[in-house]
């Protein structure tokens, strides 16, 4: 049985308790998010005007909001949106960022300079304005939300990948591939990108929390998800409004968000340590 660097990394990851906890929590979360329609005790729109702002009880584990809607249910549905946005937006950023960065880094020269200046300019634009402009122009649309968020994250991914590619470019195994006559596109696809996957995967797990937070922020500002749909951001936003009289309405979604972010960070850190080939020397 041969041990690829991936399987070595996997074994090292398995030894990292925090990372395992993070991964386990995330898997649990994703599972309940998928199963939400079946496990949610109430509909997310179901109002019960008799029981508004109710404290947590057996009937409503997390209490109810100002319209009597079950908070637990709302958090579940909100989770679906937040997680989906987070994951999809991050995938968009990875796809665009990796290809852009790899090409820029490998080709180098003037192409690289131009491509990176474009990144610099885009970086300088405050993302919130960009998203607001997009939202105003195209109307509020969940699909648009994740494309917009994805497009703001790819910049850093591109820079990271470009940096990696530049340091790999002069490695001897890349020169060897050139010497042997491998076509440039295959060098990028088969040699460069697999060897940059380490930082990419790690950054991906750190991008997802970032995107979720941005979505929460946008929704908090009223720019993201529209009522009656919920995301953790909107839930937190409503929670703030009634913070003094019903603190649990802020507490539960905020806690869910925090736990998710912690888990993603632990996993990200664990992956970074596991994938670091220097760790193999241990």
């Amino acid at each position: 049985m041969s041990h690829s660097l991936w399987s070595d990394a996997w074994h090292r990851l398995l030894k990292n308790k925090l990372a395992i906890f993070g991964a386990a929590f995330l898997i649990f979360e994703i599972a309940i998010c998928i199963l939400t329609p079946w496990i949610a005790p109430y509909g997310f729109e179901t109002q019960n005007l008799e029981l508004t702002l109710a404290k947590p009880s057996l009937a409503h584990w997390f209490g109810t909001d100002n319209l009597g809607r079950d908070l637990f249910t709302r958090i579940l549905y909100g989770g679906r949106i937040s997680m989906t946005v987070g994951i999809l937006a991050s995938l968009v950023s990875v796809l665009v960022g990796v290809i852009y960065g790899a090409i820029s880094g490998f080709i180098g020269g003037k192409t690289d300079t131009v491509l990176m200046r474009i990144v610099d300019i885009l970086y300088a634009l405050p993302f919130i304005f960009l998203v607001i402009i997009l939202m105003v122009y195209f109307g509020r649309n969940i699909l648009l939300l994740f494309v917009a968020l994805g497009l703001t994250q790819w910049l850093t991914m591109a820079r990271i990948v470009r940096g990696q590619v530049i340091s790999l470019k002069h490695k001897e195994f890349i020169e060897a591939a050139k010497a042997v006559g491998v076509k440039t596109r295959y060098i990028i696809l088969k040699h460069l990108i697999p060897n940059t996957l380490g930082p990419v995967i790690v950054y991906l797990t750190l991008t997802i929390p970032s995107v979720i937070l941005e979505e929460a922020f946008l929704s908090f500002l009223g720019l993201g998800v529209q009522a009656p749909m919920a995301s953790w951001g909107t839930l937190i936003s409503s929670g703030v409004e009634v913070m003094e009289i019903a603190p649990w309405i802020l507490l539960f979604p905020a806690t869910m968000l925090s736990l998710t972010l912690f888990s993603l960070n632990f996993l990200g850190d664990g992956l970074r340590d596991a994938l670091d080939p220097k760790g193999a020397k241990d």
């Binding site: 660097l5 001897e172 042997v180 006559g181 040699h191």
Partner: protein, 328 residues
């Protein structure tokens, strides 16, 4: 009829532009890594290229493989102009000349199996036969002494010597006519060096390969080369058949170099008188006027400071020396 050279190099220069300092605006400086090198390589011949750091031997190797494009000069392989090729025709011509790199830990992609690494060159040139499958790879692995179990393994599962053998297999798999070996054993332990050297020598003889063997280790080069060229600051200062170079080196730098190499024999070592070179290696960005070696040469004369010597025949056409003080 004199045989035609397999590789012909004329006036090869590799100059790297150096950013001029703020005070030197407009003045372009160049790092002259390779500064006008010409030689010929016959089929089946091994040319050793020796020199210390900064002499340009590695840059020359890379330039020959078009991994670093030369700024001037001519390179002909089998009579065909190699430098003017670009894009697809260049890629297709690459199988003729292959390289073995110095660092066996860096020259293999850590995320590819041995099979994938060896298949890649074949696939790149449409030589991978699905029906034959790995049989074509297995025979080359046998030649370098690696068992076929290695195919599914990754580079980090092998020792340095084994990785270098795999790298040699990769260099051979396209059946090149010329191999450029860039310090192929320098990163290996002494006991393993001998194994890989013997392997290279065997393969070279059996396949009648032409080889350019680059090394800073004179004893290693002596073992494998037929003719040896000594480089200093981007130029060849002496090139001679092996026996001649080591028994009576003519160029003062060659003499100093040979005298500096320690010999594993205490009696000889303790009795030796070494030729000591004064000073330091000048920067290749601003090589000295006149003969590049004159600043450290024990026999430098006035004329050496003003004029640059050229390689001239010494006693035969296969022995050339570039020094005003050496008269045939």
């Amino acid at each position: 009829m004199t045989p035609t050279p397999l590789l012909k190099v004329e006036g090869l220069k590799v100059y790297y532009p150096v950013r001029s300092s703020f005070l030197n605006l407009g003045q372009k400086s160049f790092l002259k890594a390779v500064d006008g090198i010409s030689f010929e390589l016959m089929p089946g011949e091994v040319l050793g290229l020796v020199g210390e750091s900064g002499c340009g031997k590695s840059s020359l190797g890379k330039a020959l493989l078009r991994l670093q494009d030369p700024t001037h000069g001519k390179v002909e392989i089998n009579g065909q102009d190699f430098l003017s090729l670009k894009g697809e025709p260049l890629r297709k011509a690459r199988p003729q000349i292959q390289m073995i790199f110095q660092d066996p830990y860096a020259s293999l992609d850590p995320r590819m199996t041995v099979e994938a690494t060896l298949r890649e060159p074949l696939e790149a040139h449409g030589r991978w036969d699905k029906n034959l499958g790995t049989k074509s790879i297995q025979s080359i692995l046998e030649t370098v002494g690696i068992s076929r179990q290695a195919l599914s393994k990754y580079p980090h599962e092998f020792s340095g010597g084994q990785r270098q053998r795999i790298a040699i297999a990769r260099a051979l798999i396209l059946k090149p006519k010329i191999i450029v070996a860039d310090e192929p054993v320098s990163s290996l332990d002494v006991s393993v060096q001998a194994q890989v050297l013997n392997l290279l020598k065997e393969i070279q003889k059996e396949m009648n390969l032409s080889m350019i063997f680059i090394s800073h280790n004179l004893a290693v080069v002596k073992y494998i080369a037929d003719r040896i060229a000594v480089m200093y600051l981007g130029k060849v200062v002496e090139v001679a058949p092996k026996k001649d170079l080591y028994s009576c080196p003519q160029h003062p730098y060659t003499q100093a170099l040979i005298s500096a190499v320690p010999i594993p024999d205490p009696k000889i070592e303790k009795a030796r008188k070494r030729i000591e070179l004064k000073g330091e290696l000048p920067s290749p960005i601003n090589p000295p006027q006149g003969c590049a070696f004159h600043t450290r040469c024990p026999i430098a004369q006035q004329s050496c400071r003003l004029h640059s010597p050229q390689l001239e025949d010494y006693q035969s056409t296969s022995w050339k020396v570039s020094c005003f003080e050496v008269k045939p």
